[in-house]
């Protein structure tokens, strides 16, 4: 017998069934990011003072560009998952929470896409 009342289902109360999936995705992206961090931190630490041609050449190298695209993709997703948890923990007004979640995901998805696009421009244009 099911213990859920029809009203609770209509109101959207109770477990969503998505939790385990999100939990795993957060851990999986975290694991993937660990090696990438050492590569990324080393790269950005050297940035101050570098000339345009040096940076462009480095970013246009196939492996660096591929690692950058990988980093952007995985970090975008990991960030969105993490910020979702923060928003859900601190915002309790349903309308504001929903708007914040949609806004955050929209903004960071677009940011990720922008970065991805910029990386492609760097390797495929002069």
């Amino acid at each position: 017998m099911t213990y859920r009342s029809p009203l609770s289902k209509a109101l959207g109360l109770g477990a969503t069934g998505h939790g385990t999936r999100a939990w795993w995705h957060q851990r999986a992206t975290a694991l993937a990011i660990i090696p990438l961090i050492f590569w990324f931190a080393g790269a950005i630490a050297c940035l101050p003072g570098l000339e345009y041609t040096q940076v462009k050449r480095w970013l246009a190298t196939p492996w660096n560009n591929l690692l950058l695209l990988t980093f952007i993709s995985i970090v975008t997703y990991h960030t969105i998952l993490g910020l979702q948890i923060v928003i859900e923990d601190y915002i309790h007004n349903e309308r504001i929470k929903t708007a914040s979640l949609l806004g955050m995901k929209g903004i960071f998805l677009f940011l990720g896409l922008t970065a991805f696009h910029a990386a492609l421009r760097i390797i495929f244009t002069n």
Binding site: R27, A30, L31, I34, I37, A41, G42, I44, A45, C46, L47, P48, G49, L50, Y52, V55, K56, L59, V75, T79, G82, L83, V86, F108, L111, T114, A115, H117, A118, A119, R121, I122, T125
Partner: protein, 126 residues
């Protein structure tokens, strides 16, 4: 519906190190997310050509820019070190109090150490 009064907690109790590290993990996560916006901007500047890059590099190389850069890098390594502990806890390892205390100290040390190593790496490759 009026808010019911909460009994004071944060104003009274001294948080254990583990608790401070936990909220710091969340705080560094948010800081890292905000910093990503800067990195997308920088990447766009590289893709945009030499004049755009020159502006971005000027901002990054300023004393404030470098401060933000290294604060972001430290936040990255802190978030990484604490995140690794989360992965261990997810595997149900190291949850006893003594191990937690020891690893808390270790985590702080490693995060600082990794930042310093990155500084040395950057200085050697500058």
């Amino acid at each position: 519906m009026h808010e019911r009064p909460l009994s004071p907690h944060l104003q009274i109790y001294r948080l254990p190190l583990t608790a401070l590290l936990s909220i710091s993990h969340r705080a560094t996560g948010v800081v890292l997310s905000m910093g990503l916006i800067g990195w997308v901007g920088f990447l766009m500047a590289v893709a945009g050509g030499e004049s755009h890059y020159t502006t971005a590099q000027a901002i990054l190389s300023s004393w404030l820019g470098r401060l933000f850069l290294w604060a972001w890098i430290y936040a990255l390594f802190f978030h990484l070190c604490h995140g690794v502990r989360h992965l261990f806890w997810d595997a149900v390892q190291g949850l006893d109090r003594d191990t937690l205390e020891r690893h808390a100290q270790l985590e702080l040390g490693v995060s600082v150490g990794l930042t310093v190593m990155t500084m040395i790496f950057a200085a050697a490759n500058g």
